[in-house]
Amino acid sequence: MPRLARTPDDTPLLAGLAAGREDAFAAAYDRFAARLVAAAWGMLGNRADAEDAVQDVFVSMVRSRASLAEVEDLGAYLFTSLRHAAARRWQRRSAQRSRGDAALAEAAAAPPAGGAAIERADRLDRALATLPREQREVVALKIDGGLTFAQIGAVLGVSLNTAASRYRYALGRLRTSLEES
């Protein structure tokens, strides 16, 4: 499972971002893009939307760079921004949209795996699509983004225990959905 690598001190990178240095944005992309795309894909279920959301995150970061000097945890900041960007895209999508065919296409494009693995992943994706947005967010942040419960709490604006219980509840709903399908 990917973990959010937290460097001991983000101050130089944050200073470069606040100063509007292009190389700092490139460094932030190199460090966080893979996890951001994975988490956005977990929230939105679609690669194109996920990449657009990540682009929104970086554009938003440029626009609000004057306030970046006050940021302590760059990872939490980026995932919080991603959550908002994904929510905006989620709202734009019609309620009819689900991971369905897109998930199959993603699985087909994924690294080679056994047929059973693809089928299982597809079932999980379909079950994830049935979760409410708040529960899907916490699963995506934990599983796909690799955040700790403390970081998820910071992103969602809730306590660590609330984040953990929300995650457990989401998994329970997911299990029920899998059993019913």
Partner: protein, 152 residues
Amino acid sequence: MSEHELPDDLSRLEEGLAARPRPAPSEDLKRRVMAAVRSELARGAAAPRRRLSTWEFAAAVAAAVLFWMNLSMVVASDTRMDLCGPPPNGTEAAVAALHRLLPDLPEREARRQVAMLRAGSRLVPAPNVEPSAVQWFGMQGPAAGAAGADRP
């Protein structure tokens, strides 16, 4: 079992979720993102925009409201409504009216008050000092100290 440890079935489900394939960023995503970043940097190079926080916005609104309240009160208190304009019947009628109200008011003071009213001033009530008292206090100067000391 720790507080955040999952039961076995949920733990297996978590492992399954973690093992499912997830997409990596596409080849051109970095180019797209950096192009967008460059574009935004160029656009905001002159004056980087900074959104006001909620508290800053609330403070700005409160300051504006207080300013306009203060300004409106200043304007209102400095505005003369001219509800008591100059006497309508001429100077002599006004002097006569003053004399009816204050029979002891000297003619000179009555005319002075009417002149002030006509000039737009407000009528300031003045004490009607007895002539004997004026004389008594008028004699209390240093030069008249001895004469004043003899008075009972």
